[in-house]
């Protein structure tokens, strides 16, 4: 399965946006049942999204569930646990037991509906102070958890939960991202992703944020508008420079096991693994 660089949000109650989303160039679509859907339209959204999951099968389709506190999550998954669903995004999660309960509910639905066992993935949206503290326990709560998303959006739930300010590349996120990425990798999460960039008119800001995210080890990003997709896909793909380095590492490393030098840097097996992963990733994206 190739890692997903970009997820495009589509509000679950907006039929046209749902239909158009898979053509926007994103690696995956995230149908939203949560905050972008008015309370009165939750049921309509479930119906529309369930239909889209059947019709659009083949695309990488995810659904953002309502949070566990609102009492809507059981109806959400009952509607969307169908064949076309690759995974769900669970927002505002701070308690590993919630993840385990979601895992158990998905297991039941997969069995009842003849879906592959354990196939539906879970992505955790970490956007409360508790979720940062418990990032490792959350990420290791279920084998379905394939990714975590640090919800660092301007004015979002996390900055409210912490009482912190927001700036594009300021210090507010240093600890949050550092802790979440270390915990996620310690729990075996291979592709942590980044939250949304809310200012649709500020393309440069989007690129600065995504570039910084990529530097520290984040592998993809949520998008709220199709126009954000090209920059996100580009920034989270291997660069020409990285590909060239990877090929040179491959060439220099023929002598099994021993240390070798590329660009004046003493390298070993870890560099070869990184080079192989980079080349494989580029091949996957070019298909």
């Amino acid at each position: 399965v190739r890692p997903i660089r970009s997820f495009l949000y589509a509000p679950g109650n907006r039929e046209r946006l749902i239909e158009k989303a898979p053509q926007a160039g994103a690696d995956a679509v995230m149908f939203d049942l949560a905050d972008s859907v008015p309370v009165a339209e939750k049921e309509k959204a479930r119906t529309l999204v369930a239909a889209a999951l059947q019709d659009l099968a083949g695309a990488e389709l995810f659904v953002k569930l309502n949070d566990a506190d609102g009492g809507r999550i059981a109806d959400d998954i009952d509607a969307v646990a169908v064949g076309g669903l690759r995974g769900v995004l669970l927002p505002k999660v701070g308690d590993p037991e919630i993840v385990q309960a979601l895992d158990a509910a998905l297991t039941r639905l997969e069995a009842e509906r003849g879906l592959g066992q354990g196939r539906i993935e879970i992505i955790l949206l970490l956007e409360t102070a508790a979720s940062i503290v418990r990032a490792y326990d959350l990420a290791s709560a279920s084998p379905r958890v394939v990714s975590v998303c640090c919800g660092t959006a301007e004015g979002g739930d996390l900055s409210r939960s912490l009482g912190s300010a927001w700036s594009l590349d300021g210090p507010e996120r240093t600890y949050l991202r550092g802790r979440v990425l270390l915990a996620a990798r310690a729990a075996g999460i291979a592709w942590p992703i980044d939250g949304v960039y809310t200012n649709l008119e500020d393309q440069r800001g989007l690129e600065v944020e995504a570039t910084l995210a990529r530097r520290v080890g984040i592998r993809g990003k949520l998008a709220i508008h199709p126009k954000q997709i090209p920059a996100i896909n580009r920034i989270f793909s291997p660069t020409e420079e990285e590909l060239s380095w990877s090929r040179r590492v491959r060439d220099a490393a023929s002598d099994a096991g021993a240390a070798f030098t590329v660009d004046g840097v003493t390298l070993g097996a870890a560099a070869v693994a990184r080079a192989d992963a980079t080349l494989a990733q580029a091949a996957a994206y070019s298909r």
Binding site: T174, R215, G217, G257, G264, V265, A271, A273, R274
Partner: protein
């Protein structure tokens, strides 16, 4: 853990870098057996380490080995200061290495606990659980954070690398706090992999020291001089901290435990810091 600024990593199959005159300045020597060498090559590496250890009457000699090989390597190399254990990720693994070393000590009639462990942190999981690994066995003398360029930790985090950028800064500080929280006075940093870039080495080692590290692995004899210098207190620092102690002593004699020096408030905490710096300077023969 005895004070150590520079640990020269010597490939066990190519120990001749010890013949470089500059190698004599390293505070410690580490024979590197960390690669999963074929058994014949491993035996040669062990023999080299044993032979070279015999020619080191004063310096601590360590080996670097993966957990699985520690017992056999210690048996083969003989009495050493300790083992830098690479690739461990949990307190349970460290405890197993502890038992293996204890068994080897007993076979060789060495005092129990005489061989130390340095836990090398080179995966996200190891860094994340650093505090538990630090307290997994009494013989763990310190932690060594290995965030080297294109090394295993950078690969694990899939991040970029820079000297003072954000990519590994969190992990580098997290590991430091874990070591210090376990009362380790000599937290160690990993190698700087650009051997010919001495300016880069200096900048990186200055960052390391400011963060709180007190020594690091060196890959080449030409890296030792700068590393020893940067991890040592400067003469100015020693002079300043001697003034801190003298000023506070006078103040306390007059009934004040808080006073200003050069416009800055100092109290008992600053006296403790001053003593730590001066102790360190004494260890390196810089202060009387």
């Amino acid at each position: 853990m005895r004070p150590t600024r520079s640990l020269l990593l010597v490939p066990a199959l190519r120990p001749d870098i010890l013949d470089d005159p500059r190698a004599a300045s390293a505070d410690a020597v580490v024979f590197d057996l960390a690669e999963a060498l074929p058994s014949e090559a491993r035996r040669r590496g062990q023999e080299n380490a044993r032979e070279r250890r015999g020619r080191e009457p004063t310096r601590p000699c360590w080996i670097r080995a993966p957990a699985f090989y520690v017992e056999g390597d210690v048996d083969a190399v003989g009495p050493i200061a300790g083992v830098i254990v690479s690739g461990t990720q949990s307190a349970e693994e460290v405890a197993r290495v502890d038992h293996a070393i204890a068994a080897s000590e007993s076979r060789h009639s060495l005092p129990p606990g005489s061989i130390e462990i340095i836990v090398e942190l080179d995966t996200a999981r190891a860094v994340f659980f650093a505090d538990r690994m630090a307290s997994a066995a009494a013989r763990v003398g310190t932690l060594c954070f290995n965030g080297s360029e294109h090394g295993a930790l950078q690969g694990d985090l899939a991040c970029d690398w820079s000297i003072d950028g954000p990519e590994l800064m969190f992990s580098r500080q997290y590991a430091l706090v874990a070591a210090r929280a376990a009362d380790m006075d000599y937290p160690l940093d990993g190698p700087f992999a650009r051997i010919d870039d001495l300016d880069g080495l200096k900048r990186d080692t200055e960052v390391s020291r400011k963060l709180g590290y007190r020594g690091r692995i060196v890959l080449d004899p030409k890296q030792i001089e700068a590393v020893n210098r940067i991890y040592s207190p400067t003469a100015e620092e020693v002079a300043y901290h001697q003034r801190v102690l003298a000023t506070l002593e006078t103040a306390i004699a007059q009934g004040h435990a808080s006073v200003t020096l050069d416009g800055k408030m100092i109290d008992y905490a600053h006296a403790a810091t001053a003593r730590a710096v001066i102790d360190q300077a004494r260890a390196w023969g810089i202060a009387p």
